[in-house]
């Protein structure tokens, strides 16, 4: 009975606030809780952009639960209170590796799409400056290079997430695609996207046209525009691409990057720009770099300045407990005594601060190990001695102490 009680208690804790109105009302008191996104909505809002880890979790648990955390709440508060006649404000989410920057961005994206904004979500800008198989010389500007594959992939995903907007927004200019094809003025933007998808050669130019149109029309107020870029430091870094004569390519020589940089300037109004810095996937940056100036460099900082930096820290004890409880509830962490009062109390006694995704990775691995050895009872238990009112389960202690990257501090 005790376990059942704790189950229901925990379920109530991370109850899903999937109701539309409730989600908009996420406030400080909801901090640490997990809210649910229905799966069909997930595929509509996030054709791309969710971290790989989270996607695996969604597949495993058959539900998408996002934790409400302070940085996201702060950002949502800024967005709610922003003046859309003023130039777009740039927000830069930064933090150490594995702390939840991309998840924060996804939370904001989900909120904005729920609120009816047009979301321009670039899942990882690093993908545009490395590992590009095809580079074509741009027909629009001889000095620039096109990336047809990346552009077409992005256009496909963009179309999937913003169908109705593409129908409503009309072009304001006539665009010529090569010698014969053109898009007339006043046609829905959908045709531009179709053109880009059909003729892959002009996909990059289609992206450029799209961005230009959205930028020019956003101030009218018929829609709100959110530009969400993950790994924005890629735009001002170096690239590993090379031209045919083996000379290195600067990012500004790429059409996609050039147009995106223009989008990130604050010379338009009627929306917001939310970006994330990312060292994982970055090129020629040391793994210890995480602050804005380190990752953006001088050029990037000058381009984005003035921006609002939003730091994302590791899990707080409360958030950790919530996540741990969620995993227990979903029976992801499986050992008999770990679910009882002793388990949680033991964790509080330890007072651990854990990195979110890194910890989850290790926990999963250890859990699979544990499951295979469960019958054999041959689970290796490193000794962590705790003087609690209840003897802390050795398995859990073994799990946690060998998982967490930092030394556990016993707080009495």
């Amino acid at each position: 009975t005790q376990t059942a009680k704790s189950h229901t208690g925990r379920a109530a804790e991370h109850s899903d606030n999937s109701h539309l109105a409730l989600q908009a009302k996420h406030t400080e008191q909801h901090e640490g809780r997990l809210y649910n996104i229905p799966l069909e909505e997930l595929s509509a809002v996030f054709p791309h952009g969710l971290p790989h880890r989270f996607q695996q979790q969604v597949l495993t648990f058959n539900e998408a639960r996002v934790m409400v955390r302070k940085p996201a709440l702060e950002l949502l508060a800024y967005l709610k209170g922003s003046n859309f006649s003023h130039p777009a404000v740039r927000y830069v989410i930064y933090g150490e590796r594995g702390t939840g920057k991309t998840m924060t961005l996804c939370h904001v994206v989900h909120y904005c799409s729920r609120q009816g904004w047009l979301v321009l979500h670039i899942p990882d800008a690093h993908l545009w400056v490395k590992n590009c198989k095809e580079l074509l010389q741009s027909s629009y500007n001889k000095d620039r290079l096109d990336q047809p594959l990346q552009a077409s992939v992005w256009l496909k995903n963009f179309k999937a997430s913003n169908e109705r907007f593409l129908q409503e927004i009309k072009t304001q200019k006539k665009y010529m695609w090569g010698k014969r094809e053109c898009t007339e003025e006043g046609r829905p933007l959908r045709e531009v996207v179709e053109q880009g998808l059909a003729r892959v050669r002009s996909a990059s130019d289609a992206v450029g046209v799209l961005l230009r149109e959205l930028k020019q029309q956003s101030h009218r107020g018929s829609f709100r525009l959110l530009v969400a870029v993950d790994g924005v430091n890629a735009l001002w870094g170096r690239s590993t691409l090379r031209k045919e004569d083996k000379s290195p390519v600067c990012p500004e020589e790429l059409t996609l990057v050039h147009n995106l940089r223009k989008m990130l300037m604050n010379d338009w109004s009627g929306g917001a720009i939310v970006t994330t810095l990312s060292q994982t996937g970055s090129l020629f940056k040391p793994s210890s770099a995480y602050t804005p100036q380190e990752l953006l460099g001088k050029e990037g900082f000058d381009a984005l300045d003035p921006f609002v930096p939003i730091p994302v820290p590791n899990y707080s004890p409360k958030e950790f407990e919530s996540c741990y409880g969620y995993y227990l509830e979903r029976r992801w962490l499986q050992h008999e005594k770990g679910q009882g009062w002793g388990g949680k109390r033991g964790m509080r006694v330890l007072g651990l601060e854990l990195v979110s995704s890194k910890w989850a990775k290790k926990l999963d691995k250890l859990n699979t190990d544990f499951c295979t050895h469960r019958d054999a009872q041959s689970f290796a238990v490193p000794s962590v001695s705790l003087q609690g009112p209840r003897t802390f389960p050795p398995c859990a202690s073994g799990l946690i102490s060998s998982v967490c990257p930092c030394t556990p501090r016993v707080s009495t």
């Binding site: 508060a77 003046n83 003023h86 804005p292 100036q293 000058d302 300045d305 003035p306 609002v308 730091p311």
Partner: protein, 431 residues
């Protein structure tokens, strides 16, 4: 039966064999007087070199004699003992082997060995008394060859008590170690141990400890010894001026410090090429430099300037004499000072990369901020706002300070949060 008169050689041979047969000192000493004349000669010949000699030192006739010494009497132990001792005592004369005395085991007893140190002193003359012959030498002695030094007896000196036992507690230490000297365990009355300890044991003691001898020691520089040095040098010194009683006053009146080194060595020459090096140190705050001049001087000298201590260090050694190097360093300082005050035409091309620290005026940050503010004002339909007004406003000043701090001091949590607050105020963002 009357013995026939013998040939002198035969007689000699018989006497030798008699001596051998007796195998003792007693038998040998009889012959000592006769042989004494020979022994020194032999010893002189055989002393220089320890290898087996030829038959030069031998007086005895060659050829096996009729009577063989009972060389087999002394066993292999005698040989070995004899050989070992021979190796140790270099001065043992092989001429003594002419005695051909056998070394019996009794003679090799420790009692005899302890007496041995006394022997080399008069071993030359009466070496015959030294039982230096091993069993094997008997037949060889008979043959008349010189022994190897390795076969002679070695004499171990008995150890005298160390000097430390006779040292008073209040002795004058500077007479024990007046100059730099190696560590002598018998002269240092300290129970020092040094070295890697044996497993489960302690570091080795100081006796025969190479580690202690290898390292430099300062036993010759104890405070009383240094006091004595100072007292001796005092006669050659002049008084320190009483007005310069603090470092700041010295700094103020004598801002330039010249450092030279004199070298003394034990040798025939007093010259040392290292003595020509001159180091000049001066604080830039004591020079009359304005902002531009200071920056230019720092760029000119490069690594010779230390940011933390504000000290310029010029080291000169390109001239052969110290005075010349000193003049050169003063000349360098003068030239640097005057050149840094001049402004060249091309200095106006100084770009942002050349700047030593971040300057907000005319930077991208200022441009962006002003553009953003102008756009905000335009959207609110507020016109007639000039750039100067915007620059003078509080929010822009705040923003400027935070950006300068961020760029110059690097990124810290406090810097970034300060920047965040200033941007929020600038763009009027409300939570």
């Amino acid at each position: 039966m009357v013995t026939a008169p013998r040939l002198p050689e035969l007689q000699e041979c018989l006497e030798n064999s008699l001596r051998d047969a007796q195998g003792g000192i007693v038998g040998v000493s009889v012959q000592a007087q006769q042989r004494s004349g020979q022994s020194p000669g032999c010893s002189e010949q055989s002393r220089p070199c320890g290898v087996q000699r030829g038959r030069s030192g031998r007086v005895r006739p060659a050829g096996p004699g009729p009577c063989r010494p009972p060389s087999r009497r002394a066993g292999p132990w005698a040989e070995r003992g004899g050989a070992g001792m021979a190796a140790r005592a270099g001065r043992c004369c092989r001429a003594g082997l002419s005695c051909g005395a056998l070394l019996s085991p009794a003679l090799l007893s420790p009692a005899v060995l302890s007496r041995a140190p006394a022997t080399p002193r008069w071993g030359r003359a009466a070496f015959s008394s030294a039982p230096a012959v091993s069993g094997r030498e008997g037949p060889q002695a008979r043959e008349g060859s010189v022994r190897r030094r390795g076969r002679t007896l070695q004499f171990v000196r008995s150890a005298a008590p160390p000097r430390t036992e006779r040292m008073a507690v209040d002795q004058d230490w500077s007479s024990v170690y007046p100059t730099a000297a190696a560590f002598k365990p018998a002269s240092v009355p300290l129970p020092i141990r040094m070295g890697y300890p044996v497993k489960g044991g302690v570091p080795p003691p100081k006796e025969g400890n190479l580690e202690l001898i290898k390292i430099p020691n300062f036993l010759h520089l104890t405070p009383p010894a240094i006091k004595k040095h100072c007292a001796a040098l005092k006669d050659f010194c002049t008084e320190w001026p009483s007005a310069l009683d603090s470092d700041e006053k010295c700094e103020q009146h004598f801002p330039i410090e010249i450092e030279t080194v004199d070298y003394v060595s034990s040798g025939t020459s007093i010259r040392n090429p290292k003595a020509r090096v001159v180091t000049l140190r001066v604080k830039l705050s004591s020079l009359n430099l304005d902002d531009h001049a200071k920056k230019k001087l720092i760029k000119l000298v490069g690594e010779r300037y230390c940011q933390e201590t504000d000290v310029l260090t010029i080291t000169t050694d390109r001239c052969p004499l110290r005075r010349q190097n000193y003049d050169y360093s003063m000349h360098l300082l003068t030239v640097l000072y005057h050149e840094s005050w001049k402004t060249e035409k091309w200095e106006s091309e100084k770009s942002e990369e050349d700047m030593e620290e971040y300057v907000w005026e005319n930077s991208h940050s200022q441009k962006n901020a002003l553009d953003t503010l102008l756009r905000i004002k335009a959207s609110e339909n507020v016109s007639n706002v000039t750039k100067e007004e915007l620059l003078a406003s509080e929010v822009v000043k705040n923003y400027r300070n935070s950006v300068i701090a961020l760029k110059n001091e690097g990124e810290t949590e406090s810097n970034i949060s300060q920047y965040k607050e200033s941007v929020k105020k600038l763009l009027n963002i409300q939570a």
